[in-house]
């Protein structure tokens, strides 16, 4: 009786359980394994009941066989569960995705990658250096504390313990950050001991051992688990293994977005979170027009992840031309730049792009492929001024070199021509000086003889004429001398002979002969000279300077006017002012006052060289010259000379 009761209840409940298994969120394969196992378990109990009732041994044999079959399906179920846990890509897409702890799978995958890297590293690297990298990372990411075992392997239990009760999403983000620093750091260490190429090969080997699918799952989930090595491997894998022709297109396509990443990432890393968010929004809007950019992922810290986009490009049909990819990348750049510029400013933006862009892109550019056109297309969309240098550089190296050579040759030619002209000018001036001054000396001598009546008696009218000729001759000689002096001063042929001087003495010596002229012209000539320290200067040049300024004042001051010469110390300089109550200078003429041959009043005698000579002399002495004036009220010419100890 009891046997019948328990048999009915047991077989009944087990059958219901077997049926309910189909309602579990599992893949159909796993569900079938479990339910088949349970079905044979039900058969076991049926056979047991039949054996109890009949006592025939054959039912026990059937029972044993059913137990065996049930165990086989049980084992298959167990294996499937583990397999799914280890091949997360399929499981996370399947109905059992709610069962999986994603962060644990992430950790396991990372740990496997890292352990395989460590396996190779311990053979050639100093353990202390490896520990140092771990300690450094653990400082920034505490979840890695104590994660390196004595056997130099990642202790996933320790990491899980450090994560504690952290929420799954948060754990994922923490793991991502920690391992994205740790793993590439370890490969970098390997690269310093071996070489960059061998490190990349090692990364490729590790990926193939872990399984391309698992790695790609990681790649799709977190971007680039091996950092730059993933990007290099991607480039090699996708670009180099494509057949000819397609490879060319592939290169151009990925290159367009490589430019995008290399240019944008360093800029985004300088941006505020709000700016990154704004850029994401802009890119989201752009997807409507350019669906190709859908794979662009920008992290909060500004990291640009293009792994999904690369995969998308790889799958693009042949008819999607290079131009359409380039157009998408340039459109993406154009929407990003204005926002970035607003945040970090144009100058910083330009500085960053200048530092990062050029060399990196050139390094990556395949030599055999002419990407000039591609690049120019991309750069067209960039804001003016950002990549001007690069644009120029890409005009082709040869063309640039040729242009530089051509310009240099032109400049050399122009320089030698100018030098020859300058020499000719000097020779001309020397010759003119000699040719003009020699007859003038003879004329002057004869005029003196005529004036002193040594050549015979002359009338009063003739005497006056001789005097006038003599005065004009003197003026002519003065003009010639000034032109020559200017030329010599400008060319540096007259070097100032610097010695200690008392400027007071020079001013005094210059003013004394002028007093007579002042009396004749009925001009009041006054001086206000304080006690001045000695200065270093050329006596002849400074005399010429003061003489020119006072002479200039006399020229423009009418009868009854006043000329004042003031000299005083002003801090570590001496200030000399020559004030007059003359006609003054119009405002528009003031800036031209010290230029060569400039004359305010053409009726006033002179070559217009005096003030220009003054300027050259003052500048040669390290001083400054200037003028203050009001039209009709008079002018004040001033200069300063430094007091040198």
């Amino acid at each position: 009786m009891l046997v019948d009761l328990f048999a009915i209840l047991g077989i009944g409940t087990m059958s219901i359980t077997c049926f309910l298994v189909h309602y579990l969120p599992l893949s159909s394969k796993l569900r079938n394994y479990i339910s088949t196992s349970a079905l044979f378990a039900v058969i076991v109990w049926i056979l047991l009941y039949v054996f109890i009732k009949t006592g025939q041994d054959v039912f026990i044999l059937a029972l044993a066989m059913s137990t065996f079959i049930s165990s086989i399906f049980g084992a298959l179920s167990g294996r499937e569960i583990l397999k799914m846990a280890r091949t997360p890509k399929s499981m996370l897409r399947g109905p059992e995705k709610t069962l999986i702890k994603k962060h644990v799978i992430l950790l396991e995958t990372y740990a496997e990658l890292t352990n395989r890297i460590l396996d190779r590293m311990v053979l050639i690297c100093d353990i202390k250096a490896i520990k140092k990298i771990f300690d450094g990372c653990a400082k920034d990411y505490p979840i890695l504390k104590g994660s390196l075992s004595n056997e130099n392997m990642i202790k996933t239990d320790a990491v899980l313990k450090n994560l504690g009760g952290t929420r799954e999403e948060e754990s994922e983000s923490k793991l991502l950050k920690a391992f994205s620093t740790l793993t590439p750091g370890l490969i970098d260490l390997y690269a310093t001991i071996t070489s960059h190429d061998r490190a990349t090969e090692m990364a490729a080997a590790v990926i193939s051992e872990v399984g391309i699918k698992r790695h790609d799952w990681l790649l799709g989930r977190v971007g680039v688990p091996l950092g730059k090595y993933d990007e290099i491997l991607y480039e090699r894998g996708v670009l180099l293994h494509l057949p000819n022709g397609i490879a060319t297109h592939g290169k151009a396509k990925t290159f367009a977005f490589m430019v995008f990443k290399d240019l944008l990432e360093p800029l985004l890393k300088q941006c505020k979170f709000g700016t990154i968010e704004a850029i994401r929004n802009r890119l989201r809007k752009l997807i409507e027009r350019k669906p190709m950019i859908i794979g662009i992922k920008i992290a909060d810290d500004g990291t640009v992840d293009l792994s999904k986009l690369y995969m998308g490009i790889e799958r693009l049909p042949a008819e999607k031309s290079v131009e359409s990819v380039i157009s998408a990348s340039t459109a993406a750049m154009s929407v990003c730049f204005p926002v970035i510029q607003k945040d970090i400013g144009f100058s910083l933006m330009k500085r960053i792009t200048e530092n990062t862009f050029h060399s990196k892109i050139l390094e990556k550019m395949p030599k055999e492929f002419d990407l000039l056109a591609t690049f120019l297309e991309i750069t067209k969309a960039m804001p003016e001024g950002v990549l001007e240098k690069e644009k120029l550089a890409f005009l082709s190296k040869e063309e640039l070199e040729w242009r530089v050579k051509e310009r240099t040759a032109e400049l050399k030619k122009a320089y030698s021509e100018l030098k020859a002209l300058d020499r000719m000018k000097d020779e001309f001036l020397d010759m003119t000086s000699h040719e003009l001054k020699t007859p003038l000396t003879s004329i002057n001598s004869f005029l003196q003889l005529m004036g002193s009546e040594k050549l015979g008696k002359i009338t009063k009218k003739q005497s006056n004429a001789v005097k006038t000729i003599s005065q004009e001759l003197k003026r002519l000689r003065g003009s010639i001398d000034k032109i020559l002096d200017t030329s010599r001063l400008e060319s540096g042929r007259i070097k100032p002979e610097m010695k200690n001087l008392q400027l007071t003495d020079i001013i005094q010596k210059t003013i004394n002969p002028m007093k007579l002229v002042a009396e004749q012209k009925r001009i009041i000539l006054t001086q206000k000279i304080s006690k001045l320290p000695s200065i270093k200067g050329d006596e002849w040049q400074l005399t010429e300077l003061i003489n020119n300024l006072i002479d200039n004042a006399f020229k423009f001051t009418p009868e009854g006017g006043k000329i004042t010469i003031e000299a005083k110390r002003k801090r570590n300089k001496i200030l000399v002012e020559v004030k007059d109550t003359g006609i003054g200078i119009a405002k528009k003429d003031i800036p031209k006052m010290f230029t060569k041959f400039f004359k305010v009043e053409h009726s006033v005698p002179g070559a217009g060289m005096g003030l220009h000579i003054c300027k050259i002399i003052v500048e040669a002495h390290g001083g400054r010259i200037g003028v203050k004036s009001r039209l009709g009220k008079g002018s004040t010419f001033f200069f300063t000379l430094p007091i040198k100890k």
Partner: protein, 95 residues
């Protein structure tokens, strides 16, 4: 006369069940709500132990007499299984 065959099947079955339990145990750390997988594991172990029990009772010639006691297990196990599936589904729906 079937005794060696019966011993062979049950022994192989036992090995397979141990293998599957180990797999589930390894997978447990990847799975959420691991406490619901524990009764499943115990169910497997229990089933296997009972198979051994059936074998021993048969060899001892006592299966006719005490076999009904073993039939209590599928009843209890079935009830627990139904309840576990119900709880599991509710939990998954909530998450």
């Amino acid at each position: 006369m079937f005794e060696p065959l019966i011993i062979l099947f049950v022994s192989f079955g036992l090995v397979l069940v141990i293998y599957s339990i180990l797999n589930v145990f390894k997978a447990l750390k990847f799975l959420r709500f691991p406490k619901y997988f524990v009764p499943i594991g115990f169910g497997f172990i229990g089933g296997t132990m009972l198979s051994l029990g059936i074998l021993f009772l048969y060899l001892a010639g006592a299966l006719d007499e005490y076999g009904w006691i073993i039939l209590i297990y599928p009843f209890v196990g079935g009830l627990v299984g139904i309840y576990a599936i119900y709880l599991f589904r509710r939990k998954l729906r909530a998450s």
